[in-house]
């Protein structure tokens, strides 16, 4: 099991437990996490599954690929911690991962 904590802009938290193998976006959609839209369904083609990865987890989640960086141009309020959740594959290593959901996905 991989435990993930989503933190909303109002600081409320949702903790979900999920199987390794799926993407963070899929885990969010499966658990109806507010603020993750994923308009394109995970094709890295829309930037509406934008999250901010908690500083402590940035090493483990890695950095965005060139394609993801390009797509992040379409996100709002992009920060150093910005990632597209459809591009983060959940592994046992990410058990305990914390991410913030942005105020708006556009």
């Amino acid at each position: 099991m991989v435990k993930i904590t989503f933190i909303q802009p109002d600081d409320s938290e949702q903790v979900v437990e999920t199987e390794p193998g799926m993407t963070l976006m899929e885990a969010a959609k499966l658990n109806n996490i507010p603020g993750i839209e994923a308009e394109c369904g995970g094709a890295c083609a829309c930037a509406t599954c934008h999250v901010y990865v908690d500083e402590a987890w940035r090493d483990k989640t890695g950095s965005p690929s060139q394609m993801e960086e390009d797509m992040l141009d379409f996100a709002f309020e992009v920060r150093e911690q910005s990632r597209l959740s459809c591009q983060i594959k959940l592994t046992a290593e990410l058990d305990g991962l914390k991410v913030r959901v942005p105020a708006k996905q556009f």
Partner: protein, 352 residues
Amino acid sequence: MSSEALSGSEEGAGPIETDAVIIGAGPVGLFAVFELGLVDIKAHVIDILDKPGGQCAELYPEKPIYDIPGLPIVTGQEITDRLMEQIKPFGATFHLSERVEALERLPDQKFRLTTDAGKQFIAKVVVVAAGGGAFTPKRPPLAGIEAYEGASVLYSVRRMEDMRGKDVLVVGGGDSALDWTLSLQPLAKSLTLLHRRDEFRAAPHSVEKMRALVGEGKMRLLIGQVTALHGSGGQLEAATIKTKEGEERLDVDAMLPFFGLTMKLGPIADWGIALNENLIPVDTAKFETSEAGIFAIGDINSYPGKLKLILSGFHEAALMAQQAYKYVFPGKKLLFQYTTSSSSLQKKLGVS
């Protein structure tokens, strides 16, 4: 027999009379041309994008699709190209870069459709194959931005002259942002390009030109993001820009944000068709909406068990065409035939 489909807008003022208007040129809209064509229904296709293919062409042209029967792997662009090839015999007319604004029923039960370009169509049936809605420019979620839209926040420039002598802010790093930067820079009083990083997706030669202009002091490049807009009465006066160095207030008369496209249901909500959570409920025998003669197929419809798959949309198109036939050719009996064996279908397809 089917009414004469006038070819495009060169006919001038009068409306275009046709059997069917298909709204949306995604894979399902394209296959609707095929299924309608097999039963002699002529179609015009309208799409807001400047190319056919819908999401397949706009969102994932290079992404592989694995669940099209008979095509183990096909990209969004390839399936679009193949569908265009497949529907060629039916000579549908495409009206691209246009959005259907109004749809109304006329006293003779036909439909009148009007696009944002002012083009009108009179059709016996309408097929809404609009997917997730019309692709529309993304609106940056800045407080109060709506008040400036159309006046000083612009997602496209219809008349470049309008920008002459103005302080213009272009936001984005793709081809649209760079192209508008280069076209407006000679006209504008000042031009600032703002992008979140010092890397651009736009064509390298446009980026080089832009950097040369910056080098000559003819325009400014800022790396950062807009955080607030200031102005009154629809007229933008300044934008607050956050850069690595901190916040800066930039005086601007106009802002052009380019953050890509998103899908919006748009005017469909005003056409008198019953909707449920932005989807159009249909029956699963005819895929007809609450309005007789208006059909909805593909991702935009809903029914028990609906799956938003291209292959489901293809099936829906086939059944829709059977019912559409009854409106286009009232009282005429439709003989069900196979393309493998029917000489009449093969003639229509141009293969016999």
